[in-house]
């Protein structure tokens, strides 16, 4: 595997300014590894860190932009329409399945 991990270097120079959130890699809440790839690393990181922010929308489609839900609806087309009206050019749309401890999921 060619994914490299950088060793922590000693601080020799003044610490650079913190990078903007958009350039930060996403992290999984459970395994702590980074997935710094994708158009939506900011959203993925936020969703993994703050699942409680999405829980009010169980059973609905949500459009997430940055670190907020910009539209939600039981109807996907409506959620996308609302997001576009609010200035989102390419909506990142998810369906939030209602939790049921007695259900296991398969692909289809």
């Amino acid at each position: 595997m060619q994914v490299q991990m950088k060793a922590k270097a000693k601080k020799l120079a003044p610490r650079p300014r913190k990078k903007p959130a958009a350039s930060k890699p996403a992290k999984s809440g459970r395994n702590g590894l980074s997935s710094p790839y994708g158009y939506r690393t900011v959203e993925m990181e936020w969703m993994n860190k703050h699942p409680e922010k999405l829980r009010p929308y169980a059973g609905e489609y949500v459009v997430v932009e940055g670190t907020r839900v910009v539209a939600h609806s039981p109807d996907a087309a409506e959620a996308i329409r609302t997001a576009k009206q609010r200035g989102v050019v390419i909506p990142f749309i998810l369906f939030l399945e209602k939790p049921d401890p007695n259900v296991i999921r398969i692909g289809l």
Binding site: Q2, S28, G29, S35, G38, R40, Y61, D75, L96
Partner: protein, 142 residues
Amino acid sequence: MATTVTYTRSFSYSIDSFSGEPFPGLEVRVSRPDDAGNAVDLIAHLDTGAVRSVFDGSRIVSALGIDLMAGREISIGSIIGFALTARIHRLELSHPDLGSFTLDAAISTVPIRRNLLGRDFFQHLQIGFREFHHTFLITAAP
């Protein structure tokens, strides 16, 4: 015979917001090949059991301006037999680190809960799963 595969990308599993359960989901941008201006971003489950990739029609048909019923009709079979009908449409999938892929994917005619990336997608990439580590690995070569 030992086989060595060199993977160039490592992805953490996505986390379900409710159960906290990790799942192998890849975030992709989907558009029509003839209209890259209209696109949606989705998370799709990597599904080695799916022959073809399947997308939730309710999420992409109106957003991409697809004439759903103009596509070839197919039935999708699950472990219980017939599951739903879908229509085949050519879609462009893109990922900033993996590239762009054109697939004749199935688009559901009814809302479905998950999008699936199937073996038609895996023909373009090599994917390895490390389930214990909740990680999958990809190299952008067939």
